[in-house]
Symmetry: C2
Subunit: 768 residues, 2 copies
Amino acid sequence: MKKILFTGLMVLSALGIQAQEDLAQYVDPMIGTAKMGHTYPGATVPFGSVQLSPDTDTIPYEVNGRYNPEVYRYCAGYQYDDATIVGFSHTHFSGTGHSDLGDFLVMPTSGPLQLNPGTAMDPDSGYRSRFSHDRENASPAYYQVELDDYDINAELTATTRVGVHRYTFSEGEDAHVILDLMSGIYNYDDKNVWTFMRVENDTLVTGFRETTGWARTRKVFFALSFDKPIAHYGNRKYDEKQAYRGFWGRFNESENFPEIAGRKIRAYFDFDLKDGDELIAKLAISPVSTEGAIRNMQEETPGWDFDAIRQAGVDRWNKELNKVQVSTIRDSDKVNFYTAMYHAFLGPTVYGDVDGRYRGLDMNIHQADGFTNYTSFSLWDTYRALHPLFNVLQPARNRDMVKSMLAHFDQSVHPMLPIWSHYANENWCMIGYHSASVIADAVVKGTVTSDLDHALNAAVTTAKTAYFDGIGSYMEMGYVPEDVSGASVSKTLEYAYDDWAIAQMASAIGKEEIAREFTGRAGNYKNVFDSQSGFMRPKLKDGSWKRGFDPLDTHGQGFIEGNAWNYSLYVPHAPEQMIGMMGGDVRFVEHLDSLFSMDLPDRYFANTEDISREGIIGNYVHGNEPSHHVVYLYNWTDQPWKSQDKIRMILRAMYQTGADGLGGNDDFGQMSAWYLFSALGFYPVAPGSVEYALGSPLVEEATINLENGNTFTVEAQNQTDENVYVSKVLLNGELLSEPFIQHADIMKGGKLTFIMKRRPNKKIFSKD
Amino acid sequence: MKKILFTGLMVLSALGIQAQEDLAQYVDPMIGTAKMGHTYPGATVPFGSVQLSPDTDTIPYEVNGRYNPEVYRYCAGYQYDDATIVGFSHTHFSGTGHSDLGDFLVMPTSGPLQLNPGTAMDPDSGYRSRFSHDRENASPAYYQVELDDYDINAELTATTRVGVHRYTFSEGEDAHVILDLMSGIYNYDDKNVWTFMRVENDTLVTGFRETTGWARTRKVFFALSFDKPIAHYGNRKYDEKQAYRGFWGRFNESENFPEIAGRKIRAYFDFDLKDGDELIAKLAISPVSTEGAIRNMQEETPGWDFDAIRQAGVDRWNKELNKVQVSTIRDSDKVNFYTAMYHAFLGPTVYGDVDGRYRGLDMNIHQADGFTNYTSFSLWDTYRALHPLFNVLQPARNRDMVKSMLAHFDQSVHPMLPIWSHYANENWCMIGYHSASVIADAVVKGTVTSDLDHALNAAVTTAKTAYFDGIGSYMEMGYVPEDVSGASVSKTLEYAYDDWAIAQMASAIGKEEIAREFTGRAGNYKNVFDSQSGFMRPKLKDGSWKRGFDPLDTHGQGFIEGNAWNYSLYVPHAPEQMIGMMGGDVRFVEHLDSLFSMDLPDRYFANTEDISREGIIGNYVHGNEPSHHVVYLYNWTDQPWKSQDKIRMILRAMYQTGADGLGGNDDFGQMSAWYLFSALGFYPVAPGSVEYALGSPLVEEATINLENGNTFTVEAQNQTDENVYVSKVLLNGELLSEPFIQHADIMKGGKLTFIMKRRPNKKIFSKD
């Protein structure tokens, strides 16, 4: 485990009376950087546009024209077990199951110049450097590593739109900074559409990079500034061909030539330094222009005080982390709790310049009027718990995220809200139209109170886009036929849930006709339930069940990233009806119990990238999203106590300290949001409802400092490692008879008290 | 010769009292479209951004990795002798000797859809169509052709930023409009960096095309609107590979899918028409955004009245053409005169949206504040006579062109004014820094009166950019050594001239120190004169002459697109000193006489693209620029009359009616500007001087209606085909004793009278 830097002590809260603690000290950005967590250890601020982080390899997406499965490990650029660092790039997704970005890789070196990255097997063959975790530190808004091959100490910090590098060169002679415009994450051959670079003067470089990858048409601009003059510079161009040469031939474009463009360029900047000298580099990004990048840099980092910029970043983290102040029975729980909060607050990320301008889906430049524009919506993941968490902890930001989604809708040529969108592109990843859920949840919970017709219209229009992923058949037939569109059961179930969410929103704003229509659609889950097998099951166009059904298999069975055992439980909006449909409480509890205890052989999920052994308990797949609500379903049976030990087990098993502490991709905070809710004792089973299902808290006490100034406290009396069961629950001193609380209970402030004990209270929330 | 459409009669001038004639009727846009004129016949308005013109072939720049010399014939997209038309694209250079553009090729077809252009040898193999000049008409702002393969009558017109198409389909069923985003002029493989297209609704399509070609990083946006709904649409994508497919696989992107992106795309739009139906399409371009293109379309072409748009274009042409009203002894002279005016007013072209926004050299979007921004500066050509012509006929526009050049200087990362720039790119074509000449000429002639320090500083800074094309050595040694930079004599001579121009500007604004410095540099032409051979000659670093000198050869002799015989005369700013240096009047006149009468074997200019037999008289190369001032040099000798018959001969030989009427590339109006000045009887031998050398007018009478409201009249008494000599000249009734007039003489209005006769007056302007 990493050493944790103590960067400050108690400071007074800018928000109010609550004293701010230095909670950033508990965050360990290294958690999740090994195996399949897909987090990155680098420097960033809450929801920052820049994620300045080391890339330990930049693996090609294809080898000999075929998909390279190795690339999946490098979604966030960094793998803890690697021995070398290629460089520090400025954009990274956190925890995603596909990737992109890795823009503007910067690497300091010394000695003879090398312009290719070299290989992990033979680091000396390129500019990469060996490093050791012994000489590496990661904390909020700060990352430090000793680059052993060059004896360079590299430190990174960031503001929202600027990455700041401080390099200390042991040997100042022959000091280089490499700017690799070819490097990237998920590095398709030909991914670079075009790159452009200008050396504006002896300390400022600008340019852009356009890529086609996960985002089909993505353009990021940069401005790179040094605190010491460039002594000499150059580049190498690896383009297979160059269209027109002609009179360009009069120049030596590869040395001290201030303007270069092409598809494949690596540039370098040499500095005359003395041994031990520091060099500070700031790189600002912009989706709009180099002018925008320069302005971002000027406004966010006017000076060269690395330590002050870092401290401001830590302060911003502390401000966010202090929204929940917890005490826990184990120190490591605090590390997990605040690291989960840290991961939950990494995205969606701010997308736009300090002046509010940003690139829209139509590739035009738009002005965000009265809101901050966000991008990178991993919605199939984050609608479940992350956006609901924001409705508690970040309502102002979530309101802006909804506005950003509506702007996407307005700008897109498709009449659709985002599916998985990043950097002014829709990448269409995964299924459903879960923007509708996010918006509905924000509306019913009072986060979003204006522009409601626009919001409802966007959701309804999205849900009626017939050409998208079987929606046409779904509207016609009440289900997605497997022979029309694969993963048809997953789609049918998720559409039905989203439809219910739309109905809730429609109802909340008095559009009863739409509410009725979508309440009707919300029942479509029934159309894929096979009462004979007791599972949801793929149906064909002709109404018959698809043959050859195996409810354990995740492949070709009508599901995506899940099997029928898990996905059959996906009716979060109508658990009672689902339980009835599946044979009533007894049979349903048997199903759940079996899920957690049965054996799932590897072959059933092999080659499903988002599911790995680490994330599985029995046949329950926590490492991927479709089951995140499942453990809470016991609440709708006569044995709600059965959720309690399992929640504690999941919290402990799937969220551990250490680089390999996460049981699966963090999925841009969704896994972490599950942890945070569950650790606090409640969970939003069906976003779009104002109800939370109660579980078994992990914390001893938690004070939630709400944006509205109220305080909601969770207390777990008799909390120990053994006392995982809840004997009773009180809300503001009143005994709860049902395992649910309401959103308003939280927002108006108050206290939720769990009385913990070693053995289950099997009568708790008894239906009798 | 083409039929000329009579589009209107006399209308009252918007400018003032002068009645406007329908002079557009004399313009024949077909002139220069055969062989090497490199003009285009399509529809455009004066200085318009859009040049909507047929492309008869789109030849690849390389075949099997080697330069394809055929491509040179297609600089303007159209070759008169071709039998097929590929389609109508929206951007074309006029008369250039290298090319680019050809953006957004649109082609109407009917019957079975074909999406490849096919070949000239086998037109049926693709969407191209046969056509005949019998069913083709070209006039200002209008082009019409019958597409024989489809029985479609295609008509084109344009506003500044919008191309308007009217297609009449004989067979309305299966009517298609193809939008070929791959097609282009000088079509390098891989020229398309990226293209992007959105079908916004059933009548509007938007997108952009980014290319790397002559312009390295060029981006043009479009908006395409139809007056009838698209019934069905699709595209084919020819990209070798596509980076990420993933969830895009759920769509059929090739049919009725509203958003497509890639490197190589051809799209089509189908319409349900009846036989004989018209379809109107408007395509607006923008250097800024699709939003900008839409706004350009809305403001410039709010409706669908093709004929009204055409008439407005004709009116604009008439307004410009009426700036000079001539009478001539032959009807064909009027055709040549007004066609020359037409060609002279095709460029530089407006570059920016209706709101004044445009893309700058830094790729940022700039606002043209108080001026119209122009691009496509073919300066090695146009500084000679075209910009000087603008100082007479288009001072307001020339002022804005100077502002555009200064904006270029401010935005470029190179401390340089444009060399040959187009579409926010410097293509560096040819030599010298002739922006300095253009600006100096505009300053000394009073066209540019503000921001003078900025202008002088830009010129001086440009002239001191040591890394450009031997300037470093030139500044150090007083000449460009051939072993440092090829074409060293041409460079030395042109730098020396430009330096003199800078000195004139410095002097005009009272910067005497700079004037002295550059007057010094202006004498550098002496350093490459070899008194032994009597020619300018390439010198090496060590001060010795390069061996193996052949003054007739255009290859490897220190000259570019010229030989020593022609280029040795390039001291336009100091003819007297040059004549002295070359041995005095007698020897110099012998040199000139020989130039026009000697034989130049083909081998001396073979493979020099800009020189062809058609443009040569003796060893005098009129078809290319370096000699354009030469015939006027007789004025500095004791035999000025010797210029007179030769001017008449050149006017008649090099400028004829018919598609093959031009003696060489029109070079964006420079050839035409030579014609116009010479036909009017005077010529700016050294731009930067306020003096014009007199020649022998071709017109009978010409009234120049100046922007300042004054009128300057040229009268040639006794003008006949035989009376090519001038017996005397009167300015405002006063006999001229020297063969020069001043710019102020013109601008204040007045009358210049030439008395013509059959035999030379050998005493005219006698020095005695």
